[in-house]
Symmetry: D3
Subunit: 239 residues, 6 copies
């Protein structure tokens, strides 16, 4: 039995709120259990220097924890005047994952900024950020289509992400913070609706794991991601 009563292969409750703030072209609050991430998509009509004149766009992501998103207060990175390795790793993962699902040649010379700000962190913030940011990205793309700025939808399909882990030798889906802090292995998977892998990252905290364990975790993640994509479709109204 898990700390919150779930089955080993059960996702936490998920709630996705669109149009959470009024200025962003896409704005989604995603809640998975007690993890809350605000995902805002902003569209800028220019590209970074290295892409100018190539008639294609760019997508980049930033990630941040609010100081008291965590059990004890974490110091702002702006106050420390540097980004931690963890932050940079996560924002590179989010950006890379979303770039794999969009054809940047179809959005013209535009930059899509994806801002994922964690209001409350109870495990799985990076995968919640990816799952929520995808919905905000759909809204941002719909804005471009509605404004007539682009004509063809550049998105290649649905995608979502989840975490899996080995806790006391057992593979579990969608770890909360308490489970995550006891896990021997922590794995994040980003996957398309068609079951293709965008990213897989597995780390042994102390005890290396076997290929059989890798396979077990993989299968849990695959099932979980399909559940998350169903939720995305529901909230997007079949779009």
């Amino acid at each position: 039995m898990r700390t919150d009563g779930r089955e080993y292969n059960q996702l936490r409750e998920i709630e996705i709120t669109r149009n959470y703030t009024k200025y962003a072209e896409g704005s989604v609050l995603i809640e998975t259990g007690d993890t809350m991430v605000l995902c805002n998509v902003s569209i800028e009509d220019s590209v970074p220097y290295f892409l100018r004149g190539q008639n294609k766009g760019w997508l980049t992501a930033e990630y941040s924890l609010l100081p008291r998103a965590t059990q004890s207060r974490n110091i702002r990175e702006a106050a420390k005047r540097k980004l931690s390795g963890r932050t940079q790793e996560i924002q590179r993962l989010i950006g890379r994952s979303l770039r794999a699902i969009i054809d940047l040649e179809k959005i013209g010379e535009r930059t899509i900024w994806v801002d994922c700000d964690v209001l409350q962190a109870d495990g799985g913030t990076r995968t919640a950020a990816i799952t929520g940011a995808f919905v905000a990205l759909v809204d941002g793309i719909n804005f471009l289509l509605a404004e007539g700025k682009i004509e063809e939808n550049p998105l290649k399909g649905y995608m979502a992400a989840t975490s899996v882990g080995l806790v006391k030798g057992e593979a579990l889906l969608d770890l909360c913070y308490e489970e995550d802090s006891q896990a021997q292995v922590d794995m994040n998977i980003v996957m398309t609706e068609a079951g293709k892998i965008i990213e897989i990252q597995g780390t042994a905290e102390e005890n290396p794991f076997s290929r059989e364990e890798l396979d077990q975790m993989y299968e849990l993640a695959e099932k979980g991601i399909l559940g998350l994509i169903e939720e995305q479709k529901l909230v997007l109204g079949g779009e």
Copy 2:
């Protein structure tokens, strides 16, 4: 008639939600019109180096805009690796204002961190932050009292803040962003329930203003602040 139909001396709709996140000792989401600020109070059982051994506490505030809290995306200060002058000015104002309402000798060697993160900015973010942070501070103090960590309430009374301004020659209370961007004078006032001034800051954007105009704005602000304090009392259940 104002852009949103209010009278010259009318506050915007205000909504204060306590316990907005689960980890902070005090956590308040304040909404005034479309301005949304998350105010979290964290209590740390130590003081900065320069106060050690003096048997008193410290209170400090930090303020930040989420990148897409504003009409066009603003670059994160963590990415720029420096705090803007505006941010530093605002967080110094919030800290100074709250320190004026609390007896730091009564909280022991503790630091109270006040984090004000703006989720959506439609004018008056610094005064909303002060008004909301006061409620979160009351919750943080109640936590200390309930835990038996302190015995006496260190708060000296209620306080709140609002903005006033001169727009096309007319004094207006509680400016929204559209009004603020047209104002000739922009003034922020922080005041106690007893009508005593904690802070007054008035700035002529281009046209210096007269003492009569100062007086008109002062009176609007005083009335507005009393309204805000009523709201604080309501949400705190008469505490």
Copy 3:
């Protein structure tokens, strides 16, 4: 009786030296009591990026304390590689105040840099900086006129600044450091020759203050500023 024998409504001795250094377009050493500030105005024939092509100019100010301007040595901000909140607040105040007295549309695409470096700090450095910088600005403008670079004087009149405060319940004009460190309220006012307010900033250190006390301080400041403007006129030879 005040520590230095002055009346409650009396300014300190003031001395303004023009052409203190030889390279700057305007260079003024202002001494008010033992406070010494070197105010240099530099004129650059270009504007920041965000103003290009708009056919108007810009004015910006920087402020710094020399390390041993103070009683105990303060660490250089260059060595700390960041500007303190206090420094940023002061340099924003100086810039904003001077921009209120000049018509930037009349100086063409030029930037006026105002550098205020405090050689000795005995209270009131920010208001001395504004009062001295105004004189250096007049010299900088005279340089532009003499060189034929502009034809019309863009200055709208005289302006100066002073500090007032409440010390042991009494309102005092132009606080020296010793008084300032005991003050319950500290207020800075910037005003034009016509008695119009450019900026008013009042802060209660611990005890909030009443409107009557605000009024008393205001009146002291108004009288003091008129005295400072007389001094400016004298040194500028009635220009």
Copy 4:
């Protein structure tokens, strides 16, 4: 046929030179094809603040490219005054991987610094760094044992790392730079002698990949890593 004539499942030539520099407790130059990484292990008799008094040690890694290790010169991170996300990601990976193979409770309150400096980069620098750093770590541990500073060998076995990828639909082992720049999928695996996974990271550049492709790459990597471990054993003289 691969650009350098290798089979799809063939490693590049590998050369490991121990004692490359004279001061470090372990100093290894590893060359895999034209990739050259200098791996130095330094042992410091203290631990970071957060571990003091716990009677265990710490291991941390740093990674850097010399400016002209690459085809065109890359700017020094010291000159830019920040670490890139890529650098932080790699040094976190190296540190995490080596910590999985050592029992830090057995080295006392010591810090092991692992510095991996890339002299020449022709693909696979992060996996070469891990493979070489393991040998330098063995030498560093031998130093501690020889000096009598520790009595028991804290290492849990051999480990090494390699990269695999999908190039034009085909799974290839140990990619050189030219292959890496064309790869659709790039995967790094760190594994023990017993075939247990320490870390697996796979990224689709543009085209998500299937589970079958994951399996193919996994098997190539497993074989490659066993080859690298043989090489490590050879150079360590069967230690």
Copy 5:
């Protein structure tokens, strides 16, 4: 004939004002021609971490140009958030030179801070800084002796510094800015009253120079330094 009418072996007019500011333990304004440097000595009753418990002191120097000390405005290093190489080189030279003339074992666990701030720069600022700082150092030491904090004078004698150069093939003493900008060779020498060398630094801008030219410049510098030391003695009243 030199631009300012001096002989090839003639120093510029020199003026040394003691007690220029009131807080520093030693405060000297030195003017050599139009170069003006404020040299303040501060004494702190502690030493840096690496010297604690060794019963000796430390001396360190900092150097800065005010923004408009120069012909065109230079950007503040605090604003750029880094010290230039030139600044670091100069402050290391000043500190090293003064440490050579003082016995740090005789000042107890104290740090002497030497701040050299250039108000106006017309060539030779680093050597003027050393010459003026020595006088401020004498005053700082006299303060320690007068307060009874030390009993023995730790200074080993007088010292001063000057610049020499080759301009159009001719060796010149004490270059002003105009000469300095045309010099083929620029040399700074720091010397004791006894004619011993503390530091010699000569740089060919474009044309390497011969040993004979080195000797000529050396002799000019020696003569100049003796003149500066006479001036120091005069202003110190034969102390």
Copy 6:
């Protein structure tokens, strides 16, 4: 007798390896005794902003110690996010010295980057860097000539550098680390084949030195540099 058995006027063993890495236009590993410096020359087809359109080139140098080049590990400057004064001083010296031997008007609008990375530091790293960088520069220039990018050789002749010092009153050539740490005077000289001085820098650590001692050291250095230039010619095949 010196610690390594050399005569007072004897250089350490020197070994210069050309083409040490494969990407740089010039790549030299220089070993003088146990000091090892990798000197890479990179050629970029553009110049910094301040030189554009002037039809001439630029040469700039960077210098860094690998963390374990030294007896105890030194912290990376990238990790500290600032360059030390020592590093800046050295890289300015290397750049200035090499610019004195090349006619930058003959290389067109190109920047020559000289990267000197110290793999092992046993005294004399800055002079070894200059001596080795000169050889790499010859190779870089040969590349430009061979590619037909320039037609005339811009180099003015050979040059090299060495250190000399006073140890226990005796002048010694080419100090190793152990000697350097005991030296009363430390001097670096950069000289052309014709015996002309490019740079001379001598520093008394504690005891100022006489002109006679300066002369003795000068003569040792001159002899040493001629020996180094012979070595350069040998390895360059009389080019």
